[in-house]
């Protein structure tokens, strides 16, 4: 079970890394501090400093972490393959809570969509679905290439995946922009409430996925990859893709 039977031969020493603390500090400045600066205290300086410090710390921490992850041999290998699905279980519950809240509100009113809802294009979510599904396929393809040791093909397909993901987010931005311009903002009614919360929450997952892809891509361009890490981002991406079916079907079509 314990794969490092040889470990006793090593001289043990205390492990350390500043990367985790840097990322947490970054999150602390970027999220609570900048958010409160903007929404609660309406203080531009606080917002800007919080966001600036936060982003720098996160980037530095993630870069360091990825670098260490690529050069070090983990205590046991392959655990990420089970750890990530366990984590995803947790994510599923957060989406379930959102959907439960959505249906509770929706079934509680007489007519749906409620007054104040403009015509929402059904073509955009269809195009977005196609894009996201293709990005899952391209990612799968990229992984297969890497398994065959074809790094340059891997990089190529990974870049295509990233582009598709970015286009997906572009569509979200376009759609939000359009809807906001016709007066459909989060506070308009309970549909807008659920619409922006759920699609926005999903979009944030796409965003995190893209960030992880970039964290894989940059070292990979320099010839370094870590199989576990690639599997993880890929599984995560497929999960984000699957969730989209639930999001789109319930929020746009049902």
């Amino acid at each position: 079970m314990n794969t490092d039977a040889h470990a006793s031969a090593h001289a043990h020493h205390w492990e350390w890394s500043w990367a985790p603390m840097a990322v947490v500090a970054g999150v602390f400045f970027l999220v609570p501090i900048a958010f409160s600066g903007f929404f609660v205290y309406e203080n531009t300086l606080m917002t800007a400093v919080g966001a600036g410090v936060g982003v720098i710390l996160i980037l530095a921490g993630v870069a360091k972490w990825v670098d260490e992850g690529l050069t070090q041999v983990p205590l046991i290998s392959g655990v990420a393959n089970i750890g990530l699905p366990i984590f995803i279980l947790s994510e599923i519950f957060i989406f379930l809570s959102l959907f439960a809240s959505y249906w509770l509100m929706r079934l509680g009113v007489d007519s749906w969509p409620p007054a104040g809802t403009p015509e929402i294009s059904k073509t955009i979510p269809l195009i977005m679905t196609v894009i996201l599904v293709s990005s899952s396929l391209t990612m799968h393809h990229a992984e297969a290439k890497l398994d065959h040791g074809d790094r340059s093909a891997f990089n190529k397909w990974l870049i295509i995946t990233i582009v598709l993901g970015t286009v997906f987010l572009g569509f979200t931005a376009y759609e939000y922009n359009h809807l906001i311009s016709v007066g459909f903002i989060p506070s308009t009614n309970i549909y807008s409430t659920a619409f922006y919360s759920i699609t926005g929450f999903h979009a944030s997952h796409v965003f995190v996925g893209l960030g992880a892809f970039i964290a894989v891509l940059l070292p990979s361009l320099g010839g370094r990859t870590n199989k576990t890490f690639v599997t993880c981002v890929s599984v995560y991406w497929h999960f984000v893709d699957v969730v989209w079916f639930f999001v789109a079907s319930q929020v746009y079509f049902w």
Binding site: W14, G83, Y196
Partner: protein, 537 residues
């Protein structure tokens, strides 16, 4: 082991870096311990202010109701989220779970470090509420619409919950993987320590239920700052949605506290009684996992007086009462462990014995609360408050303190027992009874919770006064206790490697404190090994 190449020249690494940036589970455990005890100290101070204020009718020490509410908010939120959960699943699990299964660290040490820093920054955020204008005054439950309409900065509450929740979820992933994959060769599922079982169970609960809490508070944030309408009945939302989501997590959360506390109790009892766990399999599969199974379907008992449909209230009455079955089986295992044993008394065992009493008072007073027809009067009274202080603030905290005495020689190489320890134990034990038993009595008479003033009930003045004196006794006990810990860590009596003659791996196979990598030689056990194998015939 992780190769150190990235952190070149580790031999010359200064000690502060090795501590502050550590990814070692034992040092992370110590960081958790320090953080959670600090939270306990500050939140305990708040408790003293609360007790002083309630000592007499009228306004005593505070300048407004809002100020009291801010203190009470901090007390409740910090005690649960920053003291007990991190103390039990952060400190105790981090330090001892890998040792008990003879692993060299957790599965992903860096994520473990990530978790502990999320916890620290959450404490910083919570502490900031003392200095920011408009500190949260929304109680640890944060019910809308109040938490939305209040001028206070609710966002700090939400983000504190987010940071701690994220920390716990990552911890859960880490420890589940560790237990599944990193047990030393030979350790089967039925040979795990009870503490290991209770901790995994607690992590399973965290993993499934925290996301629901995260969703609840996120929607609160959206409603307050982005103008959405989830909890706004005027626009089609529902004020009770929040309470349902909140308690869907927060009831299971009480077992996240309860279970590891029970686990620690079993470790102390078996070691000090030199006995095996009575009916181990029933305790694990019916007791621990029975609680996990039922934890998610009883949350309405916190909404007994919110106008929920009758069938829900009655249905959850039955499920809530049924919790006594798995808890009762665990209780029998504890009692059975005493039977035909050979008990040695020391400070850890004294805390364990106190826990046997506290679990009865705290748990059994949950039974009247489980009946909506009684809770229709008892809800939101001091009776509820005394119930959860007995089971949570006293039972779980005493188990944690007992665990600290028990494992102190392992962590420091020294005993924490002695005159100071005994004195502080008795002060704590007497103090908590003097504090909370009067609150049971006036609670039944109708004394409401979250009242800084009680003009309408001048007759409760006497009991409140007794309770306040009780809290002074606890405060004295706790101060002595912390003084004792600090003294013992530097100058306590030196302890041998296995001072209690335990059979558990953290005692039999490691140094005190264990070095990097925990074990000098690889640990292998056979199928006859058990952490509780005292009686060899």
């Amino acid at each position: 082991m992780n190769t150190p190449s990235a952190t070149a020249g580790h031999a010359a690494t200064p000690a502060w870096k090795e501590w502050l940036y550590t990814t070692d589970h034992k040092r992370i455990g110590v960081l958790y311990l320090i953080g959670s005890m600090a939270a306990f100290g500050v939140a305990g101070l708040m408790a003293i202010i609360i007790r002083l204020e309630q000592m007499d009718v009228g306004m005593q020490y505070i300048s407004s109701g809002t100020q009291y509410n801010g203190f009470l908010y901090f007390h409740g939120a910090a005690m649960i989220l920053a003291f007990l959960i991190p103390g039990l699943t952060g400190f105790a699990a981090n330090y001892f779970l890998p040792l008990m299964i003879a692993a060299r660290d957790v599965a992903v040490p860096r994520i473990n470090a990530f978790s502990v820093w999320l916890f620290y920054f959450a404490i910083v955020l919570a502490l900031l509420s003392f200095v920011i204008p408009d500190a949260p005054d929304i109680m640890w439950t944060g019910y809308p619409p109040y938490s939305i309409t209040t001028a206070a900065n609710t966002s700090f509450y939400v983000f504190t919950v987010h940071l701690l929740g994220f920390s716990s979820i990552l911890g859960a992933v880490n420890f589940l993987v560790t237990v599944i994959y990193m047990r030393a060769p030979g350790i089967g599922w039925n040979q795990l320590n009870i503490f290991t079982w209770t901790t995994i169970a607690a992590f399973v609960l965290q993993l499934i239920f925290i996301p629901v809490l995260a969703a609840a508070v996120t929607l609160l944030l959206f409603d307050k700052y982005l103008g959405t309408h989830f909890y706004d009945p005027a626009a089609g939302g529902d004020v009770l949605l929040y309470q349902n989501l909140f308690w869907f997590y927060s009831h299971p959360a009480v077992y996240v506290i309860f279970l590891p506390a029970v686990g620690i109790l079993f470790e102390i009892l078996t070691t000090m009684c030199k006995n095996q766990v009575f009916n181990y399999k029933a305790a694990v599969y019916a007791g621990i996992w029975g609680i996990v199974g039922i934890a998610g379907i009883v949350w309405i008992h916190h909404l007994y007086v919110t106008g929920m449909p009758d069938w829900l209230r009655l249905g959850h009455m039955v499920t809530t009462l049924l919790i006594s079955v798995p808890v009762g089986i665990l209780t029998l295992s504890m009692w059975g462990t005493l039977y035909k044993s050979a008990i040695t008394y020391n400070t850890a065992m004294m805390y364990a014995v106190a826990c046997l009493y506290l679990i009865l008072i705290g748990g059994l007073t949950g039974i009247p609360l489980a009946l909506p027809s009684l809770t229709i009067h008892l809800s939101e009274t001091a009776f509820v408050m005394a119930h959860f202080h007995f089971i949570m603030a006293l039972f779980a905290a005493f188990a944690l303190f007992g665990g600290i005495y028990y494992w102190f020689p392992k962590m420091t190489g020294r005993y924490a027992d002695g005159g100071l320890a005994t004195t502080s134990f008795w002060l704590n034990f007497i103090g908590v009874n003097v504090t909370f038993i009067p609150l049971f009595i006036i609670g039944v008479e109708g004394m409401p919770r979250r009242y800084w003033d009680y003009q309408m009930f001048p007759q409760f003045d006497g009991m409140h006064e007794i309770a306040t004196y009780g809290s002074f006794i606890v405060a004295a006990g706790m101060l002595l206790q912390f003084a004792n810990f600090i003294y013992a860590a530097v100058a306590g009596k030196k302890a041998p490697l296995n001072p209690w003659n335990s059979q558990s791996l953290e005692w039999t196979h490691t140094q005190s404190p264990p070095g990097p990598g925990n074990f000098i030689d690889d640990v292998v056990v056979d199928e006859n090994w058990s952490p509780y194998n005292y009686n060899k015939d």
